[in-house]
């Protein structure tokens, strides 16, 4: 009997006429595709199309192709479904995958367009005029006190307003990715870039490595159900604390960081033994209700000297009501993660079939908090496949205060979205703890690329604001009047509060 019915997904073709026989592909591949016997011999079945070898081949003689074995066409039984059945029949296992939902669901961002000024009001050129992106993350007061400024005007009274907010230079932060799921050099790159860009990175649930202490004012420290690396010092170091309840890629389930990823450094940072699984239970066992959440929020505030505390949830059916409860429980921000958000590892069935789009979640949460008169009490952070500055601008217009990027940040560091994060063999040295792979990311190089990305998107956002004729991102926030929908059904338009184009 055949050991497997699965055929290789890709073909690695080497043009041996051009090949230098240098063996660099052998050395670069983290998946063990290549053997070397006078020349590199690929094993197609191991290739994940991450293009590490292609990028580093000095002769440009490697081509990765889809293995075009024809299966009889069937739009219902896709090749992916057939392969999963074969694999599960072989192993009896739960299908595991990495990165975000790859199914062709409707992408609402791609059906929204922004407005611009023409004739009746002037647009603004951000290259020559001030364009404010500064954003404050946290609870805003119900009212502000002002005092005379001595020049006939007024200014904010001392201590009024936004004392306990975090200042961001642009409404974009890095989303939580734990040390353990990604390498320390990725964490360092993110932390350095966050400092340079005046934004925040987020530890994820794997603790804060000592090498990141110099950047701690730009770090959100996360508290998840496994409580890895959480102690009073950890809480006091962070700029803010985030309670992770859920993740867009795997709402409602916990996490298992496999023992082989728990090396000495990861073990020290998480404060757990080396080699044993790091299991995050599905729920926090001290949160079974909104009241319990309030209890945890305030215990973290007590233990940290009243730092801002945010709550991260996956966008699910009743997200608006849940977010309202979170705000009433005392959260300084609500982090909404849509169902296309990425992950280091998640069961495929969960990743691809649970949760709702971030666009809808932003709109309904923003509206619900406004309707209840509590919108000022918490900021909304939106994530779950923010792919460009256009997505960022649309998310802000739908009602988010800040967006967070994870997949895009990893791509800035070399990720090619091969969806193999869970294997621990990332050839780009991102989602692995193997020292020969992790050293491939130089944090200085990484920080520069991330800084470039943040600056580029921020500049594009300024251009969008200029076209809209506003001079501050605050004027775009929640301004759904500046959005129109193309090709969305009437009910979706109503739910997200956006008119169809032409109206």
């Amino acid at each position: 009997m055949p050991t497997s019915l699965l055929q290789p997904e890709f073909r690695v073709d080497i043009d041996y006429n051009k090949c230098h026989k240098c063996g660099r592909c052998v050395q670069q591949c983290g998946w063990g595709v290549y053997n070397f016997n006078e020349r590199p011999i690929p094993d197609d079945s191991k290739c994940r199309a991450c293009h590490r070898c292609v990028t580093y081949c000095p002769a440009h003689c490697i081509t990765i192709r889809k293995n075009d074995l024809a299966l009889r066409e069937n739009a219902n039984w896709t090749a992916g479904l057939r392969k999963a059945v074969w694999r599960q029949a072989e192993t009896g296992g739960v299908m595991l995958t990495g990165m975000g939902n790859d199914k062709p669901y409707l992408n609402i961002f791609d059906h929204l367009v922004l407005d611009a000024c023409q004739v009746t009001n002037p647009s603004i050129d951000p290259l020559r005029e001030p364009m404010e992106l500064r954003t404050y993350l946290g609870r805003k007061p119900d009212s502000v006190e002002v005092v005379p400024d001595g020049n006939g005007g007024v200014r904010l009274a001392e201590g009024a307003g936004i004392a306990n907010n975090i200042k961001l230079d642009t409404p974009l932060i890095f989303s939580p990715m734990s040390y353990g799921s990604v390498s320390l050099n990725v964490h360092k790159s993110l932390a350095m870039a966050a400092e340079r860009c005046g934004i925040l990175m987020n530890t994820g649930e794997g603790g804060l490595h000592a090498d990141l202490y110099p950047y701690q004012d730009h770090v959100i420290v996360q508290v998840a159900s496994g409580r890895f690396g959480v102690n009073p010092e950890y809480l006091q170091r962070g700029a803010a604390i985030e309670i992770k309840v859920g993740q867009g890629a795997k709402p409602g389930i916990g996490g298992h960081l496999p023992g082989e990823k728990i090396n000495k450094e990861v073990s020290t940072t998480r404060m757990i033994p080396q080699g044993s699984d790091a299991i995050s239970p599905a729920p926090h066992h001290d949160i079974y209700s909104i009241e319990d959440l309030r209890q945890l929020i305030y215990s973290l505030k007590e233990a940290s000297g009243y730092k801002p505390v945010g709550v991260k949830i996956a966008a699910v059916h009743n997200v608006a009501a849940i977010a309202s409860g979170i705000v009433r429980a005392g959260a300084d921000y609500v982090y909404l993660d849509g169902f296309k958000g990425g992950t280091g590892a998640a069961p495929q069935v969960i990743r691809d079939h649970i949760g709702i789009p971030i666009e809808i979640a932003i709109a309904v949460v923003d509206q619900r908090l406004r309707d209840e008169g509590i919108r000022n009490q918490a900021s909304i952070v939106a994530a779950g496949s923010i792919r460009s500055s256009a997505d960022m601008a649309k998310a802000l217009a739908l009602g988010a205060d800040v967006v967070a990027i994870g997949s895009a940040a990893l791509m800035a560091l070399g990720c090619h979205m091969c969806q193999g994060c869970h294997t621990g063999c990332c050839s780009w040295g991102l989602t692995t703890q193997k020292p020969e792979l992790t050293r491939r990311v130089d944090p200085e190089w990484g920080a520069e690329r991330l800084t470039n990305l943040v600056h580029a998107w921020s500049h594009e956002l300024q251009e969008i604001l200029g076209a809209l004729g506003v001079n501050a991102v605050e004027s775009l926030r929640g301004s759904r009047e500046r959005l129109r929908a193309i090709g969305l059904d009437a009910q979706t338009c109503e739910i997200i509060g956006v008119k169809p184009a032409g109206m």
Binding site: L6, E9, G80, K83, A84, R87, Q88, E90, T91, G92, G93, V94, M95, L96, T97, S225, G226, R227, V230, N231, P232, L235, H256, P258, G259, S267, M271, I272, P273, G275, S276, D277, I279, P281, H285, D286, Q295, L296, Y298, S299, E302, A303, S304, P347, H422, T423
Partner: protein, 272 residues
Amino acid sequence: MTTMTIKGPIEGYLQMEPSVSVEGDVATIDCQSIYYKYVNEAVRRCFADGVKTVKLINVNGQRYIGTGIKGKDLRIEVHGTPGQDMAMLMDGPTVEVYGNAQDGVGNTMNAGTVIVHGSAGDVLGYGMRGGRVFIKGDVGYRVGIHMKAYEDLRPIMVCGGKARDFFGEYMAGGLLVLLGMESRLEGPLVGGYVGTGMHGGEIVLRGEVEPWQVGKECGIFTATEEEMAALRPLLDEYCSAVGFDVDEVMSVPFTRLVPISHRPYGKLYTYL
């Protein structure tokens, strides 16, 4: 003189500074109906001023007592009934409760000692990484969930009464002991789902459990003489803290539950 805004009552408590009297290095704080925030601020201030022991009197449900406090030689005495999440994230001090405690005692605690001369509620020692929690009486559900050990940190919890379901669920390290000495609960020593998902540490029960009560990730053993002998110093300490007779405690065989694997879900997954 600073102007003071009078704040109204909150959650049934008064928003005002409690009265604090200091004698030598011992401070006494009258907590009667004072909002937890003011009580805990007063406690932190006392320790910052060099006080070594804080006596909290008339405690009636104030939350977060001892939460986040660091310092090995510090001591908090609680007279009355403390509220939720007592000694959460605590790192070193000793908290002794002359009464019952509620939920979340020792939540994510790092080091120190908690002694409760009464019963306590649910989710005790959740994610606890070090230190000791001694409860004299009964405990509720989900006690000792996800306790974990790290290097020289090894959390220990001993409960003198009975426990409900999910005792030691997800346990990743440390030692969880249940004695069934004095109880106001009916039914067996412990509920179901004991040690479900356990992948580290050990659970010790005075008496026996039925296999149906125990998670499939645990192996069930009768404690050997050597293991009993190794437990004696801890039980000695526990008994002298809460007032049991150690010989009586050790007069019946103990059951040990230990995980079969450190990687209970290692073979769960497959991928393309």
